[in-house]
Symmetry: C2
């Protein structure tokens, strides 16, 4: 096992009816900026629940944070927050709203010239406005970590940052808020969480059997519960199990003491920036291809994955690895998420993905060895 | 799944050489009371590592905290801490030293008449002196939770409390510190951690498949790694895997949204108070008997445990449950921990256990239904 530090200070309040607890979780004397997305929270009752819980708080609203939240939009919220002397941010929505809110939290007190540097140049985040979250879409795990991914329209970029200062102080997770999600978002959430686990699990052996089993626990639960949530959107337990799995997928425990990959995410971010695919769509496309391309380096973990997650114990090692990759792709497709670039109309200029990553001087993957040619090779495997 | 709150703010610094990080983890301006046990830290080099890391800090020492830390000893530390204007406590040792230190932390600013009320009457802990920990014995999980168990000599009592204020701010977990543990303490630690998981897992189904699998992950890892640590005490990975398993066993995640039992611990605490058995010895004795006595109420979970933890899939339900209980007892015995009261010379007056618990008006177990007769019945099953 590798040495590690683990620290996750977020309070999670999970279950039916927990949005009412905002009245005590949100700091009493704060001036709160409530951030949200395109307005689905007005249709599904979440907006009303939040406003009712915060009736004795000072709340200013900022709506319109997009999926793959835009830097430009976030900077409008930063301006509003400064103008209104905001002291607390409350994200109400899915991972995009929350990621945008984390960036807003870091950008408000940022001392450098341009907050975009936090994303593009790793400029240090030394403080942030405290924030909380009401989650309505289980997927990104952002509700219990310090990660944020933000996109810029000009020039087209999608970049991530991490800071210990942007862990939510609390996150409220009421599975009932996910009842009204469109199937596409439910399916995307399951794929996203599944891919988060794979990024931390499908690397190489470092003798960390507990972390391996904790990762498999999330994968097996998503395979079992994801389809139930899709089939019966108001199945409380299925929704709760998917929501908790998505949180646990990226709350830090399964990353303790093990190497991590994240190559698929790096390529996926470029595909979203260039072609507008949903984040989970990019992962469903790229992950099986990454497994295939890196099957040598990932061999021992692919065999463990085949055995423990898919029950594949017969045949040669190569046959089991082939079958595990096929099972992964089938699982994504069974949720309705397509797994080939051509199916999303992406057929031209795919070389730009590797070009853009290489231009930043980055090599990716758990060995930091994958360069432009490898990326081309991976994307060729999932072209059609 | 049941509603739940999860909040674990402890920073864990895990791995070889991490004691040196005390120099930055311990608050710079604090007056630190360093607490420890019987002095094994002087033999195994931990004392020297801690002192070296804290050479620029103000440190006062308090040694001699016993296994099953004594209220009387803790109160001496409270007096010293008040006299010396201590502002931070650093526990260096195993779970007993840490549990004692948590009680000291809560007792120093306690506003009631008698700090024993925190343990005996659930008197509220509204604040505590901040504390940190260097762990040398993986077992109790105290390094990452708000629990503490303290014993009193007159009258004989062993009682527990929980407070959000006594989570360690940080815990340093260097698996190498466990190389020199006597086999009895290594084995006890594995049994203790295993029993902690069972208390949270072997109850009844509430449709929480992720938490079930996370619990099984810890159990399977302890079964695999515990014997390796005993056989080869300087096997770093085995020591690391046992240490991380013991922490994860009681850090809160597997308790999320599920019922909990703790009847075995309640009976075990009485056996330690009355007869002086090691904590883990009491668990090794009582747990198989509790499984046997409560096999009806715990049926579905016992069958899951038989299947997933012990691979028992053949035969009738009763036969599988019998086999799973036998496997559990065999596992404890294989580690060298005896599982019958008579083997510890306990043959007389066992009825006092149920009597004492009943006298407090408590019913125990996940259904809070087990009373004096049930306790007598359970202890009869593990008498000899």
């Amino acid at each position: 096992m590798q040495n590690f530090r683990f620290h996750n200070p977020t309070l999670l309040d999970f279950g039916k009816g927990t949005i009412a607890n905002l009245s005590t979780l949100a700091p009493k004397d704060a001036r709160i900026l409530m951030t949200y997305g395109g307005g689905s929270i007005r249709q599904n009752g979440v907006y009303d629940q939040v406003k009712a819980a915060l009736k004795d708080h000072e709340v200013i609203e900022f709506g319109g944070i997009e999926p793959n939240p835009h830097y430009e939009t976030c900077m409008k919220a930063v301006a509003l927050a400064c103008q209104e002397d905001i002291t607390f941010l409350l994200s109400v929505g899915g991972g995009s709203t929350l990621d945008g809110t984390k960036f807003i939290a870091a950008a408000i007190p940022f001392l450098g010239d341009d907050p975009w540097d936090i994303l593009a140049k790793g400029a240090p985040v030394t403080k942030a406005v405290p924030l909380g979250c009401v989650l309505t879409l289980p997927a990104t795990g952002s509700e219990s970590n310090g990660f944020s991914v933000v996109s810029r329209m000009e020039p087209l970029e999608k970049r991530a940052f991490f800071s210990e200062h942007v862990y939510p102080q609390f996150s409220i997770l009421d599975p009932e808020t996910s009842y009204t999600l469109p199937p596409r978002q439910t399916a995307n959430g399951v794929v996203d969480a599944f891919a988060h686990v794979l990024e931390q699990y499908l690397t190489y052996e470092v003798n960390a059997p507990l972390q391996d089993r904790q990762a498999e626990a999330v994968l097996l639960t998503l395979i079992e519960e994801g389809p139930k949530a899709l089939e019966n959107p108001t199945d409380y337990d299925a929704r709760a199990n998917v929501m908790w799995s998505a949180t646990q997928a990226l709350a830090g425990a399964i990353a303790c003491g093990v190497p991590q990959d994240w190559a698929t995410h790096m390529m996926g971010h470029e595909l979203t920036a260039l072609y507008g695919l949903d984040h989970a769509q990019t992962l469903a496309v790229v992950f099986p291809a990454t497994m295939q391309y890196c099957r040598g380096a990932k061999k021992s973990k692919l065999l463990k994955y085949a055995d423990r997650v898919w029950g594949l114990r017969d045949g040669s090692e190569d046959a089991r690895i082939d079958a595990a990759i096929a099972k992964t792709e089938e699982f994504f497709r069974s949720l309705g998420v397509k797994t080939r670039l051509a199916e999303y109309g992406v057929t031209e200029g795919i070389g730009r993905v590797g070009q853009r990553i290489a231009a930043r001087g980055e090599k990716i993957g758990e060995h930091a060895k994958l360069g432009r040619e490898d990326i081309d090779g991976i994307l060729a495997l999932c072209a059609k």
